[in-house]
């Protein structure tokens, strides 16, 4: 049993729904109680879809248990087929139905519908949403895709985008552009946009572009083995990764590499003098493995940030993320425990978080700016405007999105100079955020309006003064600390305390503060 407040991933059948909802002509019959129908709102509200997800639930009740839940499943399957006439069906159980062991797959086979009916085994008490999506897509591909004659023109399948994916809609457009600039056409995009008959002709492509390992790696491996299609390993998020992707594709497809950089603005924006203030900003990165790893490279090599922590919530990518973290010389945080992520962030005191909607809330509480780089998604992550993460425009979007939450260049200095101005004081936060500035408090410690943590109503609010481990702040030093702008104050406090401990000093004076400042000067 595990105590959970917020979760990064839903149950595996939600992953299956993401695949089914992205596709056309496929229907999912899910053995599940009525409450599980909540998942429809993920698609209709968060993603603003204009159709119901193609999912029919059996919605069994307590009184059905032990009598006719199996009959209910069979009837639902028959009725669903007749009503929706899909090209293919997937069938499975949610967590509750898994316990009553009705075997939807076996029952579906006995009924023998005239269309492919693909059983899903998704262990709800062991695995999670990304596994569910990956496994579902794999089973669909395995059941339907067959070797086929390659297309005359070099072509690729784009695999991985699903419903409710983080910017998948726009990434597809961007990747299609990258390929078409090299004269490569797109055979099938799947699961999103594909019908079962499209899946059947995936074998005609020369290779696969694995856009999101989270949702399509199993299928990519299977197609490599069974259909002889190599797949790309680079995810084109960021300038360097996009260039690498183009090189990798060129090699696989045996064409000349070509990348149209005429619309690429990130490199110049990052070199321009206003960006100097980005130098060495300490960032903590957390998300799904793919987006977190891509963000680390962009953060360090293309924005000039210092990566102080890196992590992901999906264990499937833990190994490669650990490796990367080691290369960056930081500890890897592999956890799906929101409270643990919060503890790590509190301890690291980064100047910025690149995370998910959950880290955005941690940031709000701690007064640390945050840009969202990964699922789990929120209605804000489906903007009306074109906003990819991949390719050329994706890189431009990353620059804007990551810089936006920060205090801008000269403003940093103005805050320092006029810190007592009644309107332009440091607690007001970045001026371009108006009234919605992050609620940073004087000492850079806990924000006044706590959010989303069980500790919020139990912990007495930190006093923020005097105590830092065994070190005591003298009142002059404490006053001096308050003169430091809020966005670096947390770091200054922490550095000074570390410095004091290192020097064996038990009281921090103004001198200690400035000695520490000199020590950590960069």
């Amino acid at each position: 049993m595990k105590l959970t407040v917020w979760t990064y991933e839903g149950p595996p059948h939600v992953g299956a729904m993401r695949v089914a909802t992205g596709m056309k002509g496929l229907h999912y019959v899910l053995h599940a109680p009525q409450g599980d129908t909540y998942a429809d709102l993920l698609f209709t509200m968060i993603e603003r879809r204009d159709h119901r997800p193609p999912v029919t639930y059996t919605t069994f009740q307590a009184r059905d248990l032990g009598s006719d839940t199996a009959d209910l499943f069979k009837k639902t399957l028959q009725d669903t087929y007749e009503r929706f006439q899909p090209e293919a069906l997937i069938v499975g159980a949610s967590c509750t139905a898994e316990l009553i062991q009705d075997d939807p797959g076996g029952m579906a086979e006995n009924i023998g519908l005239p269309v492919p009916t693909i059983p899903l085994e998704l262990p709800s008490y062991q695995r999670k949403e990304n596994f569910g999506a990956d496994e579902t897509f794999f089973q669909i591909v395995k059941a339907l895709a067959r070797p086929a004659e390659r297309t005359a023109q070099i072509s690729a399948n784009l695999i991985g985008p699903t419903a409710l994916g983080f910017r998948h809609r726009d990434d597809i457009t961007e990747v299609i552009t990258l390929l078409s600039d090299m004269g490569i056409s797109v055979n099938v995009v799947a699961p999103m946009t594909a019908s079962p008959s499209d899946i059947a002709r995936m074998g005609a492509a020369h290779f696969n572009v694995l856009m999101y390992p989270e949702t399509a790696e199993s299928a990519a491996r299977w197609m490599e083995r069974e259909l002889g299609q190599p797949y790309t390993k680079t995810v084109p998020i960021g300038v360097g990764a996009t260039r690498d992707f183009v090189a990798e594709v060129a090699k696989i497809a045996e064409v000349a590499p070509y990348l149209d950089e005429s619309r690429l603005r990130l490199p110049w924006y990052s070199k321009s003098v206003d960006s100097t203030y980005l130098t060495g900003k300490r960032v903590f990165i957390f998300g799904d493995g793919t987006h977190a790893m891509a963000a680390a490279r962009v953060a360090r090599d293309e924005m000039g940030f210092e990566v102080v922590g890196l992590g992901c919530y999906n264990r499937e990518l833990a190994r490669s993320l650990r490796k990367l973290a080691k290369a960056y010389g930081v500890e890897a945080t592999i956890t799906d425990d929101y409270l643990e992520v919060e503890r790590v962030i509190e301890a690291l005191q980064p100047e910025m978080i690149l995370g998910t909607q959950m880290e955005r809330h941690i940031g709000k509480r701690l007064g640390i700016p945050c840009a969202v780089i990964s699922a789990p998604v929120h209605v804000q992550d489906f903007p009306a405007r074109y906003s990819p993460q991949m390719g050329i425009e994706g890189a431009n979007v990353l620059f804007d999105t990551w810089v936006h939450p920060l205090v801008m260049g000269l403003e940093e200095h103005l805050l320092h100079m006029f810190r007592d101005d009644f309107e332009f004081h440091d607690a007001a936060g970045p001026s371009h955020h108006g009234g919605h500035a992050p609620a940073a408090r004087g000492d850079g410690g806990a924000a006044p309006r706590p959010a989303a943590s069980p500790r919020d109503i139990s912990d007495p609010e930190k006093t923020g003064s005097e105590v830092g481990g065994d070190v005591i702040w003298l009142s002059d030093a404490e006053k001096e600390l308050k003169k430091i702008p809020f966005f670096v104050r947390g770091k200054a406090r922490r550095n000074t305390e570390t410095f004091a401990t290192m020097k064996g000093v038990s009281e921090i004076s103004v001198d200690t503060l400035y000695e520490a400042k000199a020590h950590y000067a960069r």
Binding site: M1, P11, G35, Y125, I176, T177, Y386, P454
Partner: protein, 447 residues
């Protein structure tokens, strides 16, 4: 008092036939109630014993609605709990100890049953008893089920309140108890109206566990929400007596509800008039303004919160709407009977649902406004049908006189909006199979 609403054209709907179909239901489970209950009871924590799905539901429902400091969590069952490798009761003790150690301010802990915990027959009543002993007197531990195999949406609140009734101390005091979780501002208005009538009242749930609320044979209770069937039964078992009345939505409903209470407590007609005259006039005026867009318009209710029948009564009688279908997850005539008496005949009164068949009926009727859950709203909007998300009705202050105009406004806004928007073919193109479309990229600016 001046003009009463016109009497119903017939004897109302109490004995009207009810359409009952069995198919897929499209409703929340009772766990959803935790989202508002945890805000209402400020020293309570709700621990769902369930699966990742339960945690995801709470988060997703909350993500759409609120995202603030939660006093709820999920003890997620894992493979070892199911395989019997770990004694689930011991595990639960461990999780609760961990939780209470971290949150010493908690005075009431609700162990909330879910579909998986019900199916594996995890005895949460036993756990609650054991934990109450263990953590007495600082924490009281209760249990109820919010499972989707037993409860629908607002029934979760019902199950929660019903679980609190047996442990209330006994009292012989003659008193009025208002039952149902209301937004604070609304609750205060109700108490103040009653005070002006000379009636003092207590409320269930109280904001804190240490209130001295008792119950007994001299307790009279009035429900403020129509979904409290089990709580109603639990209160009657303690000897309390229900005051049946239409629910306090709109000017007419509120007046009837207050009048029923006034009658029980012997409130003089003059005093009643003095207390209600001004707010009644305000409510009528506000409704008249807000319901302009509603007159003569048709409305279709999908089953959701059990508020459907009282709301249909308000919308048809006070806002001039015409109900095409009124669907409710359950129809408890002992509770909504007085509303049914007032409800003009409707073509279809339905209980439970087969969502696909109901959608067929809705599409055929093409009502001016459809009240439905979040899973159906955007798809129906895309078909050109204006909708009102039902969930807003349990989250927004809508009871009593001062909110009567707001209540009408909740329904008129989608209709006014549909009229206001001047977008070419404003209904989303139904041919589009997924948002954005492959062709919708930024081709402008490409060489």
């Amino acid at each position: 008092m001046t003009e009463l609403a016109p009497p119903p054209q017939s004897t109302g709907c109490r004995n009207a036939p009810i359409l009952k179909q069995r198919g897929q239901r499209e409703v929340f489970c009772g766990l959803t109630g935790i989202i508002w209950l945890h805000r209402k009871m400020q020293d309570a924590f709700f621990l769902v014993v369930g699966s990742r799905t339960c945690a995801h539901l709470l988060q997703s429902a909350a993500g759409v609605m609120i995202f603030a400091e939660p006093r709820f969590g999920t003890a997620i069952l894992e493979e070892t709990d199911l395989a019997g490798l770990a004694d689930a009761q011991l595990e639960l003790d461990r999780v609760v100890d961990e939780l209470l150690a971290r949150r010493p301010d908690i005075r009431q802990l609700f162990l909330v049953g879910s579909c998986p915990s019900e199916v594996i027959k995890l005895d949460l009543a036993r756990a609650a008893e054991r934990m109450t002993e263990r953590h007495a007197p600082s924490v009281r531990v209760l249990n109820f089920s919010g499972s989707g195999i037993e409860t629908t949406f607002t029934q979760g609140e019902d199950a929660c309140l019903a679980s609190m009734v047996p442990v209330l101390p006994a009292t012989d005091e003659r008193q009025l108890l208002l039952v149902g979780a209301l937004p604070d501002v609304v609750e205060e208005q109700a108490l103040s109206l009653l005070a002006q009538m000379g009636v003092s009242a207590r409320v269930l749930p109280a904001p804190r566990a240490d209130s001295d609320l008792g119950i007994g044979e001299n307790t009279l209770f009035a429900l403020t929400q129509p979904f409290l069937g089990d709580t109603h039964a639990a209160l009657e078992r303690r000897g309390a007596r229900h005051i049946p009345a239409p629910f306090p939505f709109g000017e007419e409903g509120t007046t009837a509800w207050l009048r029923a209470i006034g009658h029980e407590f012997g409130v003089d007609e003059d005093i009643f008039a003095r207390a209600t005259e001004a707010p009644r006039a305000r409510a009528r005026k506000a409704i008249a303004q807000a319901s302009d867009a509603l007159r003569g318009k048709s409305i279709f209710f999908f089953p959701d919160s059990q508020l459907e029948i009282p709301l249909a009564r308000f919308l048809t009688r006070e806002c001039g709407m015409e109900a095409v279908e009124v669907g409710a997850p359950f129809i408890h005539k002992g509770i909504v009977g007085p509303d049914l008496d007032l409800l003009p005949e409707v073509p279809t009164l339905s209980e439970g649902q087969d969502v696909d068949l109901q959608l067929d009926r809705c599409r055929a009727a093409r009502p001016d406004l459809t009240v439905c859950g979040l899973g159906l709203a955007n798809p129906l909007e895309a078909e050109g049908l204006a909708t009102k998300w039902a969930i807003e009705l349990v989250f927004t202050p809508v009871h009593f006189y001062e909110q009567a105009g707001d209540l009408a406004g909740l329904f008129s806004r989608p209709i006014r909006r549909a009229d206001m928007l001047a977008l070419d073919g404003s209904a989303a193109s139904p041919g589009q199979k997924y948002p954005g479309g492959l062709g919708s990229g930024p081709h402008a600016g490409r060489p």
